[in-house]
């Protein structure tokens, strides 16, 4: 098997692309992300249709608070960076360094989720719920759907880490790590759009 195809550092330069299976995984994953982008686009479109249909409830400008949203954004962007560090470590065959950076990524993801839950609870107290208005329904659909993706990513990367806790990096697991990090970037990128379209536009009214 090509698994044992050692080069510099004991690994090929791009271990994630060294096998046919790995290459297929990357192509397939890019396709998957482009399909998901369209699904998110549908929810973005729905949200934009209803962003002012507040049905007498609080508006975005009244609800959104810069510091919290900004913190959430910073957390997620930094977690993208840490997942890049993890992949760089993987490509240099530094397994424990990779694990460290992925673990940091997972922790950041989890704290983002905590913040989001806190935020939602806050909104519900202020009368902005899933059923209160079309604005509410489309807000929670879009942002909640993104949150579910973050949760899935956290579980996914954790599973990968635990499963391979003692395992050296090889061309069988490298595509798995790589694809997980791609997913993480994708989820972060979607958040950038949410931040702009939902929160920034929402705050200017």
């Amino acid at each position: 098997m090509s698994t044992l195809d050692f080069k510099a550092n004991g690994l090929p330069a791009h271990p994630e692309k060294a096998t046919q299976e790995g290459r297929a995984k990357l192509v397939g994953f890019w396709l998957y992300m482009s399909a998901e982008a369209v699904l998110f686009a549908t929810f973005f479109g729905t949200f934009m249709t209803f962003r002012n249909s507040v049905n007498g409830g609080p508006t975005g400008a009244e609800l959104f608070a810069i510091p919290m949203v900004f913190t959430a954004t910073a957390i997620l962007l930094v977690s993208s960076l840490t997942s890049v560090f993890a992949i760089m470590a993987m490509q240099r065959n530094l397994a424990s360094k990779m694990r460290f950076w992925f673990a940091v990524t997972v922790l950041l993801g989890a704290s983002f989720l905590g913040l989001e839950v806190y935020e939602f609870v806050e909104y519900v107290h202020e009368g902005h719920t899933f059923t209160s208005s079309p604005f509410g329904s489309s807000f929670y659909t879009l942002v909640g759907f993104h949150g579910a993706h973050v949760l899935f990513g956290v579980l996914w990367i954790s599973t990968l880490l635990l499963r391979n806790i003692n395992r050296p990096i090889d061309t069988y697991v490298a595509p798995k790590y790589y694809v997980a990090s791609l997913y993480w970037h994708f989820v972060d990128l979607v958040w950038v759009f949410i931040f702009t379209i939902v929160y920034l536009f929402g705050m200017v009214g």
Partner: protein, 612 residues
């Protein structure tokens, strides 16, 4: 005698766990044919009810259920899986691959479709099928319990469809044999590329639209609550952003089948290959810019209507290119009018009629008159039945010998063809006039003496002809399995790679990966006087994926979760997703390196050895 993928002793377990693309194709095929029969039966019920004015064979509510399920079943559970059957059977063979890129995902896609279809159809026995039409517009659809079955069944099968599309695209992008450049791929493979791309970008909006409906019905969301500031036209937009590409993702593979069959029966290379590829891609592209032609009567205003009307008419250009290329392929060829050939040839005028009425419908001013009448029904049945279904029949007769190693009976096939052709035109041609005479679609009965009685009667008679044709097909399949003539490797003197390997193929398709030296690679080698392809490698061990039961259980979990949602049982939802989640977890933590098999003719110590 080479051992084929079918030689293994039949076992249910083998079929439940298979990851062989040929077997998954067969599963798709029989599931698709089954739902084709179910949808056909529903159509027959519709036509019996409408045979006479003021008929009381079905009451209004039952009629609406049958009509809704007819459309839903035929599009999602018959046409789509039947085309997926061909893609699974043929695409890897046409590109010289031993398998697909993601065999596990391929199997998962099938089982998601299977359970989704089952869930939707179970509604008949669980308090009433969906009855708001296959479009399931809000707010009408929000009133019915059946809508829940529609939403969840399509959600599950739709997810499977998206997975399959990703699998086909990745397979075609990464697993072509050496020399099989993109511009040497057979047209059916090309149409699979474009159709898969359409699925990726069209089924996802459908998923979105279904979520909105689901949230509205189950969790009391306010998207479509106009009093609270909601908007029902949004649903129509999202639905048709899916819906129009949907019809193209069905018809493009049909075009692909027809292109391959016409070249083969004409014993000539396809005329204008490059323009065919270009037209396929262009149709897929324009297909995303025309959705609002289904909504001319909503009141979007003359500017929007004109823009979408003109965009729609543009589709006629690449479609016309294709029609001329098919005709030019036949001119000067030695056309063989076997059953596959008959269906392929009759595809052309049928589809052209549907295309012309499509362009008529695209004139938005005129569409105010046509819209929601039987004229629309006639239009889309000419493209769907005259187009897609005839192409599926052509493909069946053409590829059956390759997949099952037996020839379908030609005499029965020709009887079937003529019955079907007559029945189809009897049923649908007159519906153009019915529409122009003012008969609305989706009504369960009508008053006598409005000038519609005879036309409706004629239309219903046609339905019996088509039923007879399909019964002949079923008989043909049974007779062929029982004592059909054995197929040779290359019964049609074919052009593409699938005809260069045994019928039926071995499990690994190609003992040695072929080198592709031309378009129509197999024809090219034959013209060079070669008896077989040139090979890219010596005979050696072949790496194949392991079978697995996990995909089926994973899909079954979503099925349970679906009922959980329908009956508002959180226990059911968690149980179902729990099963799916555990399967994903197992799949993720267990290494799966596949197995190695020894092709025929490779001499090794003894038997087959497995290694990681």
């Amino acid at each position: 005698m080479a051992t084929s993928y079918l030689d293994k002793k039949f076992s249910l377990w083998d079929w439940l766990t298979t990851v062989d693309h040929k077997k998954i194709g067969t599963l798709y095929f029989f599931a698709g044919i089954f739902y084709f029969a179910v949808g056909g039966l529903e159509a027959l019920l519709i036509r019996i009810q409408l045979m006479y004015p003021m008929n009381d064979f079905l009451d209004g509510e039952t009629f609406n259920q049958v009509m809704t399920m007819h459309g839903t079943t035929m599009l999602f559970f018959a046409a789509t899986p039947l085309l997926f059957a061909f893609m699974n059977w043929v695409v890897p063979l046409q590109i010289g691959a031993r398998d697909v890129a993601f065999p596990f995902l391929n199997s998962l896609g099938f089982w998601m479709f299977f359970f989704g279809a089952l869930l939707t159809n179970s509604s008949f026995f669980l308090g009433g099928a969906p009855q708001a039409g296959w479009t399931s517009y809000a707010p009408l659809a929000l009133d019915y319990k059946g809508t829940d079955f529609f939403v969840l069944g399509l959600q599950i099968s739709g997810a499977g469809t998206i997975m399959s599309a990703i699998n086909f695209l990745t397979t075609i992008f990464t697993m072509r044999a050496p020399g099989m450049t993109l511009l040497r791929m057979p047209l059916f493979t090309w149409s699979t590329v474009v159709a898969s791309a359409l699925i990726m970008f069209a089924f996802t909006p459908l998923t979105g639209a279904l979520f909105l409906l689901m949230f509205e019905r189950m969790f009391d969301a306010k998207f479509f609550d106009v009093a609270a500031g909601g908007n029902v036209v949004l649903y129509e937009h999202i639905f048709w952003i899916f819906g129009h590409p949907e019809v193209y993702l069905l018809v493009l593979p049909a075009f692909g089948i027809i292109s391959d069959v016409i070249a083969a029966i004409s014993r000539k290379r396809l005329f204008g290959y490059h323009s065919m590829v270009f037209a396929t891609v262009l149709i897929g592209f324009i297909g995303f810019m025309v959705w609002a032609h289904h909504m001319f009567a909503v009141g979007m205003g003359p500017t929007v209507n004109s823009v979408f009307g003109i965009a729609t008419m543009l589709v006629g250009v690449p479609t016309g290119i294709k029609v001329f290329n098919w005709i030019f392929t036949m001119i000067g060829g030695k056309v063989q009018f076997n059953t596959a050939g008959l269906f392929a040839v009759s595809f052309i005028p049928s589809f052209v009629i549907g295309g012309i009425t499509g362009v008529m419908l695209a004139s938005s001013a005129a569409d105010f008159q046509f819209h929601d009448t039987y004229f629309v029904i006639a239009h889309f049945h000419y493209v769907i039945v005259g187009g897609i279904v005839q192409a599926i029949f052509a493909g069946m007769f053409y590829w059956w010998p390759k997949i099952f190693g037996k020839m379908l009976n030609e005499t029965l096939g020709k009887w079937m063809f003529w019955l079907f052709l007559i029945g189809f035109n009897l049923t649908f041609y007159i519906q153009h006039y019915l529409g122009l005479w003012g008969m609305p679609r989706r009504v369960f009965t009508y008053l006598p003496n409005q000038g519609w009685d005879t036309a409706n009667f004629v239309s219903s008679v046609g339905a019996f002809f088509m039923t007879a044709a399909v019964i002949l097909l079923v008989i043909n399949v049974i007779v062929t399995f029982a004592r059909g003539e054995k197929a040779v490797q290359d019964p049609w003197y074919g052009r593409t790679l699938e005809w260069s390997i045994p019928s039926p193929p071995p499990e690994y398709n190609f003992a040695r990966t072929p080198i592709v030296r031309s378009n129509d690679p197999w024809w090219y080698e034959k013209m060079q006087g070669k008896k077989e392809m040139q090979y890219a490698e010596p005979l050696a061990e072949i790496h194949m994926p392991n079978p697995s039961i996990i995909p089926m259980i994973m899909a079954f979990g979503t099925f349970i979760a679906g009922y959980g949602f329908i009956y508002s049982s959180w226990f059911g939802v968690f149980l179902g997703f729990g099963i799916t989640g555990v399967c994903m977890f197992i799949r993720s933590i267990k290494d799966d390196h596949g197995q190695h098999v020894h092709p025929e003719g490779l001499h090794v110590e003894k038997g087959v050895h497995h290694s990681a």
